[in-house]
Symmetry: C2
Subunit: 279 residues, 2 copies
């Protein structure tokens, strides 16, 4: 997805939120924000929003010397989601269609996202996503693709959301590689976050080789890029993956909540829509 002018506003807002959360001094705040303004001016046609967002969060990490400013928030997200895990398992156990229910739960978990908003109501998200129709419903195609696949590449999004992903992975019934960031960025899941969620019990955790938001293939390491190109089915969670990989073809299935106006408009759906979309 290209970077729309409305993304500029959101990226600047994300920058402001992040510098305050990181507790930067006024001078460093100004440096980071001027860096965002500069990066936006230098944006090349077709460049995607995660490129700028990555830059924002990396500069903040440098300036603060704190490699993981979202550590505590991520741990809280994981604990909150883990506390719901027994209820999620019961929902699956009672479901007429456990796979669809698991897909919906994975989308429900996508509400955990400190990019577009500062807070979320996790259980409200679960109830809503179980009840509402999907605005894009490529679930039959996803089911078919998974039936034919030997294994699945699963691109994770945020810490805590990982628990919901685990519930889905248990329903896939094929070997799954669960891709995480190699170092912290925003509240994206790292290996530690995935392990804290117990994903290592149901999938092989692989690192993408960088900590860019979404999946910016030109920054990932060779091993991951090979995995990416070899995969016959890729489940990609969250807006960042839609933004960075929406042109990567029909092997990809995007599972997300369209939490911002720009992504919703790009998809042609109302904000908050639930998406299962083949690339």
């Amino acid at each position: 997805m290209k970077t729309y002018l409305d993304c500029y506003l959101c990226l600047l807002r994300q920058g402001l939120t992040a510098i305050r959360r990181a507790g930067l001094c006024e001078n460093d705040q100004l440096t980071v924000i001027n860096g965002v303004l500069q990066a936006l001016q230098e944006l090349q046609p077709g460049q995607t929003p995660p490129i700028i967002a990555t830059q924002i969060h990396q500069v903040i990490q440098e300036k603060t010397g704190i490699p993981d400013p979202y550590l505590e928030l991520k741990q809280q997200s994981t604990q909150k989601a883990l506390a719901l895990h027994p209820r999620l398992k019961k929902i699956i156990a009672a479901a007429d269609d456990p796979f669809e229910t698991a897909v919906r739960l994975a989308i429900a978990g996508n509400i955990i996202d400190f990019g577009p908003a500062d807070q979320y109501d996790l259980w409200a998200s679960v109830e809503r996503v179980l009840a509402e129709p999907l605005a894009f419903n490529d679930l039959p195609k996803l089911r078919q693709a998974l039936d034919l696949a030997d294994e699945v590449l699963f691109l994770s999004d945020n810490a805590g959301e990982t628990i919901f992903d685990r519930v889905l992975i248990e329903q896939i019934g094929k070997p799954v590689r669960y891709a995480v960031k190699s170092a912290p960025i925003l509240n994206d899941a790292t290996r530690a976050d995935a392990i804290a969620a117990g994903v290592d019990q149901v999938a092989e955790i692989v690192e993408i080789g960088c900590n860019a938001l979404g999946t910016l293939l030109d920054r990932c390491d060779e091993r991951f890029v090979q995995l990416f190109h070899a995969a016959s089915v890729i489940i990609a969670k969250g807006m960042g993956h839609y933004e960075s990989l929406s042109g990567e073809g029909p092997r990809l299935f995007f599972l997300l909540q369209a939490k911002c106006k720009v992504v919703a408009n790009d998809l042609g759906v109302p904000v908050k829509s639930l998406i299962v979309k083949q690339g």
Copy 2:
């Protein structure tokens, strides 16, 4: 008032709203927004938000070749406010303290502002401002200053708000010079807007010599700057005047609604607070 980092966000949003309202093509939209980003980067310490906002709207005027993109909105605002004028007069006639009531109505009219928001509810603003306490109440000092003054300089804000100003001017009982922009900018009042509101019937309309938002003295013409420096009492309407003139001393009385978080924080009051504040 200095430009806070939160102002960056608001200025960018204002730019986006304005380029869309003006119907600029995608290329010109990008040029204007890049201009905003550049201007924000080049902002000098102590420079006030109206400097950038002025630049945004002037560039849009240039790019579109439309000198007054807000003409229709201003005319609508004036008509809506004029329709309320008989009710405003009745409120004054029935008031225990007609001067305080007129000051409150002038503040109520300050809701007409296409900078911080896209729409407003004018009558709701009247009812609220008549009922709520003032967060800053320098009304006694304003009364005293007006008693001692031979004449008053009144810095107007927006078209439509002009009708509410007229009601206040009628209660001042001293000769009033009503300062307007010399050319259109945003929905700020020009001579034509003031005349459409009937302000010429109660005050001498003077132009400031430029179309910068707020009152940027270094851009006003010599005649106006002399008037400004000679005035013993200056009533300054709206956030733009507080932003551009808050350091100009006790001759100034700011009448406004603190519609944005930054101005409210700078004043140390909640958003939406009603302000009568001596400079």
